[in-house]
Symmetry: C2
Subunit: 554 residues, 2 copies
Amino acid sequence: MIRLLLLLSLAGALGAQEITSKRLIEADREPHNWLTYARTYNAWRYSPLDKINRSNIQRLAPVWSFQTGDVEGGLQCTPLVADGVMYISTSWNRVYAIDAATGRKLWHYIYEKPKNLGVPFGPWNRGLALGYGLVFMGTLDNHLVALDAKTGREVWNVAIEDLAQCGCNITGAPLVVKDKVIVGVTGGEMAHRGYINAFDAKTGRHVWRFWTIPGPGEPGHETWEGDSWKFGGASTWMTGSYDPESNLVFWGVGNPAADFYGDDRKGANLYTDSVVALDADTGKLKWYYQQIPHDVWDWDSAYESVLLDLEHKGQKRKLLLNVNKGGYVFVVDRTDGKFVSAWPLVQNLNWIQGIDEQGRLIGRNEPALGKSSFICPSVGGGRSWNHGAYSPKTGWFYTTGIEWCQTVVPQKEEKVEGKQIMGGQFEFKPPPSGEAGGHLGAYDPITGKRHWIYRSKYPLLASALATGGDLVFTGDPEGEFFALDAATGKKLWSFMTGSGHRGSPVTYAVNGRQYIATPSGWGSALAGLLPQIWPEAEYFPSGSVIFAFALSEP
Amino acid sequence: MIRLLLLLSLAGALGAQEITSKRLIEADREPHNWLTYARTYNAWRYSPLDKINRSNIQRLAPVWSFQTGDVEGGLQCTPLVADGVMYISTSWNRVYAIDAATGRKLWHYIYEKPKNLGVPFGPWNRGLALGYGLVFMGTLDNHLVALDAKTGREVWNVAIEDLAQCGCNITGAPLVVKDKVIVGVTGGEMAHRGYINAFDAKTGRHVWRFWTIPGPGEPGHETWEGDSWKFGGASTWMTGSYDPESNLVFWGVGNPAADFYGDDRKGANLYTDSVVALDADTGKLKWYYQQIPHDVWDWDSAYESVLLDLEHKGQKRKLLLNVNKGGYVFVVDRTDGKFVSAWPLVQNLNWIQGIDEQGRLIGRNEPALGKSSFICPSVGGGRSWNHGAYSPKTGWFYTTGIEWCQTVVPQKEEKVEGKQIMGGQFEFKPPPSGEAGGHLGAYDPITGKRHWIYRSKYPLLASALATGGDLVFTGDPEGEFFALDAATGKKLWSFMTGSGHRGSPVTYAVNGRQYIATPSGWGSALAGLLPQIWPEAEYFPSGSVIFAFALSEP
């Protein structure tokens, strides 16, 4: 008990300063911390820390590991770090606070999951949010909980919607904006109507809800045939960005349901496959940009929205870059949602022939009902959700991409509220010419001009991290965690962690020492599909470990 | 497929030389390898490798990790290393071959366990044996299997006894001796008659069985009252030693059943709590030494038998040191089993007052039927099975010990063949004076003179490793893996692996580079009992990772 108290007081001392809205807005001024999902509201996943750099990375070695034991479903989180304390979430909604310098556990929180929890896909969780002395997590039964950051004690716990009713849950990290916690929901493959919710951070009181499918009488409702709007998916399963200047939250919206069969939901199906810009205080829609009207390929726009202030055609522009699951990257003006550019992330892409200068899709290749179509990329995505990183030093966007295809057979399925409705069957296939595989590239964010590409045998399904040390980190499905030269893509360093990478690496500092930390733990629905192309992937070892690296003494 | 073939041929190249009986007998001449459970037949757990030593250990850092994902029950194995290939076993009888320099998996083997497998305690496995191109493992359903060392393919698989019948299984590592594989069995808490079996290594043909309880007409049968010999336990759950000179195998035998209630089995209960010396070719008993006649405390003698050639009282002696679970270390002459010395490993020990110069127990403190007695150490042991190490450089034996006690209430229970029969209930308690805790000490093997002691808050439940670099390695239940100065016990280095240590670290070399490797993964029956004294131990994280360490470049 004495020891427990000591640990608690240590946790208190380490994470002593409250994380305010001001700190979150100015998160970039705290290079030693990683306070929010993508470190900064602009979703860059970049840290200016540069003590670990190209000249000394050969001395990078593990300094501690933290094993969670929660190996089911992969370790998919982004660790958060605040003033020497690391916070991670694992499968089954467990949360751990760890001394970020030593790897010693400070506290843990085990969510008491309801009995007979019917989880649509798997038990993973992708991350937490911090603010006001609390740690926020969405749960597998669609609750939002707030924990005391110093003790792990549950402070509040609010139910959003009954899992049995909606077939949806929360796996994405919440986003704290000002005095609110904003959180999305899964359910893109379910007969469900999606939404984004905001709660008062201190009390858990519900503040606003934005329905990602307009209801009767609302603009856009006419883009859904009949009652299809009630069951159209439009999930919001990842984490949005925030622009304090305009007070807008940008959130990506997933595919319409049924995924591959669209005849029951004729119309553009707003706001599926769109980025929506919402007023952070009210949740009111400011603008939207729909990348793919009437999606019949299961191409979510739910991934990160990277906020960039760049010069384009001689003008300073406030831009938003969003990676679509279909393998195209869309860039829009984030003040009004107007199209700027789109560029393909993968070579194997045949669901359209191209995108015109107004952002319109050219030559849609829609799979026909009951027939087998060969579509590239596969429904696993031209990229999975794992995030890219933007370095202001190079001005380049670093992101993974996957070369693979599939056969898909659309089917009409019975629609039952809260039940899965994929609208077809698929099977992953290698591309017709060349090998299936993954890559990580460095791209001009507006034009997509590729500066270099690092190719890997298997899809890279972990996020990228870019640092001021001119390094880009990510990991592979076999367990290798590695660093590339941000300028050339040359592999400079690697460490075999022994289980595949599916989460998001971060960097931080404690007492002036820079650390790189990565989750390592293979799993996820997509990981389970890899054997369709690579049979040996069935036996990639699972695991659940955080590795922290630092420079060994010279 | 091409990759698979490459891996297989790599495995073939790495582990190319067949492991013969000659190589096993002369295992000490291969400093780069760890060919058998304790590296050498004398159970020293010592390697002469000295490139990692007191002067440079600050540069020791992880170079790879291997996650097994098999987190249930703890990672309890001793990794074996043969010519660049590491072989490990995990819970549920999985086997992995790993490139010992890079941590890349070469092959895996998943034992197809029978449905409805009723495992008496847990799914762990403590290790493998190598020989003749094969990898040997005992299974949870009491089979012995042989795998092709180059591919992991099952070559033979023999059933020993039906688990449902015996309530016993195999968790200990087999021992290859000459052309045979010798293996023990669990079942000390079961109404079962124990044995040791030998099989032909190449074919799996059964060669001999030694019953650890003498049958009718055999010497020692009279030490069991009535039919108690049929159900007396006498398990052989750990791994023995071998002396090529005398061709004797030395194997420790566990407690009699029922553990705490002995009135149904009056007599000395041979060969429980004994070390038996068997002819390796025939399994015939050469001698035995019973440490504890008629045990009523559950004090196994099943732990390691360390073979030592030492001068004692002016004479060169061939000795055998065996650590009894009751906290006493017994030393006998290994040519005839005659008592030489005994010394206590722990301070808190009240089940006897002492041991006289003939090895007789003085002042037995037997718990009384139906009454609560306070006994030290606890049934967890003055030490658990995790092994000590002997360094020929210092001449000292390094072993852990535990200071803890228990209340125990003996009870008469119904005896049902193959079912558990503990004969009482226990609850762990701190010692009456002073704190419960663990330690690792350096002892004169014959006199028990303590040269130093390193104390730890929690019991140390991992084996010790002694090296030519004058280092002693072990790990703690919270996940710290550390090295002590073999001469002084000073802690020189540590690394937090993030899950507790319950297995056995080893050292080896590939291409001239020395590695230290340790299993890290908390679990086991005993781990589950720690919260009786340390409530926080309920939340020590589980895991299952091999960490390999080497010196970073200077």
